[in-house]
Each structure stands twice: as structure tokens, then as C-alpha cells.
Amino acid sequence: MLNVVWLILLASGIIVAAINGNIDLVTEAALGAAKGAVEVCFDLVGIMALWLGIMKIAEQGGLVQGLARLMKPLMVRLFPDVPSEHPAMGAIILNLSANMLGLGNAATPFGMKAMQELQKLNNGSDEASAAMCTFLALNTSCITLIPATIIGVRVSFASANPTEIVGACIFATAIAMTIAVSLDYWFRTRSRFKGTR
């Protein structure tokens, strides 16, 4: 699916630009984005290092494991393939907590750490495991309790009530998350049936 989506994005863009006679825009956009992607990664290096360092302390002190034990009843249902004491569980919880608090820059390092732990259970495969798909379904649709960025923008344009949208955000994300988790569950059980046949 990804191969097709990627090709459609590229090809439709180039065809439209060619028809409209702006083919030079394609070159500019492609080269600019390639450069931008590397900049994004390098911006990530420092932030990654900071949060992975803090997380290591939390891990060694047993804080992450404690958090994982607290959430265990929920986590074992969402991730039946991951042992309940596995380090991946702690990292997943940290990632989702950071997302909910609107700490985007802390969420990404925790999320990557979670993926690395899940990959250890995936026998070095280059295909996503069911647990990874569930984690990303949760992650992309995760509730943000404090949408700090957009509140900041609203404040800067002198909104009479900058936070009035928080309730609506929570409502909309809660529905998106429910659908994402249900759909993931459906996909997962379906592919499991296929696997056992």
C-alpha cells in the first residue's frame, strides 16, 4: 500500500505541474524537501539524546517498570503479543503520556525507543509486527489533553477564550482513537486467522 501511495503522491504532482507548465516547481520542491528532511533529523539528535538520557535514569531506577505495572491490565489487552514485563511496555506508556500532555518533542524519542524494543520481539523482520501496528494506531490518534501549540496561536490572535476548543479537541480525538483501535483490532484478528490456516 505504501509503495502505491508514495508513487501516486510523486506522479500526480509531476503530471499536474507538467500540465500547468510549472515543472520547475517540482525540482525546487523535491530538492528543498530532501534538504529539509535531513535538517529535521539533525534537529532531532539533541532532543533525542536528552530524553533518552532521562529515560535511562527512569529505567534504572525502576520508574518505567513501575508505570508499566500500573497500566498492566490495559496494556496486556492492547498488546497480547508483548510480555507484560517487557521494556517496550514502559516506553509505549511514556510515549502516550507525553503525547497526551502535548510534549511532542519528548514523545518522539520515547516512541522510537518503544519501536526498538518491539523490533527485538520481531525476529529482525522488515515487516511491521501486530504490536507495532497497534502502537502506531494509538499514537497517531492519541488524545492531546493540552494542545499547547494551538492555544498559543489563539492567544497571539487575541482570542476571547483561547481554551474553549479543548473540550471539542478531546471529543474529536476520542472518537478517532476509538475507531483506530477498533480497526486495528479487526485487522489484527483477521491476519491472525490467515496465519494459522
Partner: protein
């Protein structure tokens, strides 16, 4: 009131974590600085690993946007979304939501500058910015970090969540703010 509470939480969350975790580690007799450095060392290799994935995805998305292909798709979908109570101005934002986080923020800011943050469009743009994450970025970065090339059904799940989030945002804004 709510604004003050949220503001306090979002300004204090990071300083609090930076204090609480090392302090807790110290009480637990962990060599906190050495442990920090050991964990931080993984930062570079992880960030560098995602470069090829991110280049591939960002180039495709950027070409799609800059060429005007996205505008055509938006125009084509407009009659459909007008039926559910979404103004035409908001559609580019909905199309951008799964593709680019900074793109969405830019568009939302622009809409609020033109229509004001307390207009229906301004409020809907705010809710959409606060709903669901940038599916393509998340999948690219997270799968890229561990070298996963086959995403299975996760793209379908993420995009369905984006569409659901959009519909739910339009619905709730029509109920609350119209």
C-alpha cells in the same frame, strides 16, 4: 481559569520531569550523570537512521503540494464536504493533516489571521490542529528508526483515524459553535 491551569501544566511539565527523574534516580543510588550519558548516546544513531525514510516521504509530499495537485483534490472533494457542514476554506487543512505537521500549523495560523480565532472557521481550524497526529510523519519516523519497510495495515488505520477525526471535529464544532 482553565487557561491558567493548562498554561501552568504545559510550562512546568518539562522542568518538572528534568528535576523529578534525576532526583528519584539519585535517591535510588543510581550514578545519575553516567546513566544519563549512556542513554543519550543512542540519540544520534537513532536520529540518523530515519534520514532515508524521511527524505523519501518528504520529497513525495512536497512535490504533491507544490505542484498544485493537492489543490485539485481539495476542489474535487469540496461539494462532498460542504454537505456535512465543513466550509471550503477548511479543506486544505484536512488534506494536510496526515501529511505535514508544520504545514497544518501554518494553514491553521493563516486561517485564524484572516477570519479571527473566534470565528467558526478559526475554531474549527483550532480543533482540527489539536486532533490526531501527522500519520505519514509518525509512520515514517517510527518505522524508519527500526528499519521496517512493510507497514502492513497501519497506513490504512492511521488514515481512517484522520478522516474520522476530521468528521468528528466538523460535527462537534457545528454542535458547539454554530
Amino acid at each position: 481559569m482553565l487557561f491558567n491551569i493548562l498554561n501552568v501544566i504545559s510550562t512546568w511539565a518539562i522542568p518538572f520531569l528534568l528535576l523529578a527523574v534525576p532526583l528519584y534516580g539519585f535517591i535510588k543510588k543510581i550514578p545519575v550523570y553516567e546513566t544519563f550519558v549512556e542513554g543519550a548516546a543512542e540519540g544520534f544513531s537513532t536520529a540518523v537512521k530515519i534520514i532515508p525514510f524521511l527524505v523519501g516521504m518528504m520529497v513525495a509530499i512536497s512535490v504533491f503540494r507544490a505542484s498544485g495537485a493537492m489543490d485539485y483534490l481539495t476542489t474535487a472533494l469540496n461539494p462532498l464536504t460542504a454537505k456535512i457542514g465543513a466550509p471550503a476554506e477548511i479543506l486544505p487543512l484536512a488534506m494536510m493533516r496526515p501529511l505535514s505537521g508544520s504545514g497544518v500549523l501554518g494553514l491553521a495560523t493563516e486561517l485564524m489571521r484572516i477570519y479571527g480565532p473566534d470565528s467558526f472557521i478559526g475554531r474549527l481550524a483550532s480543533v482540527m490542529q489539536g486532533t490526531t497526529d501527522t500519520t505519514f510523519f509518525v509512520l515514517t519516523v517510527y518505522f524508519g528508526a527500526v528499519g521496517i519497510k512493510k507497514y502492513k495495515y497501519s497506513l490504512a488505520t492511521g488514515l481512517t483515524a484522520d478522516i474520522t477525526g476530521f468528521l468528528a471535529a466538523v460535527y462537534i464544532c457545528n454542535v458547539l459553535f454554530r
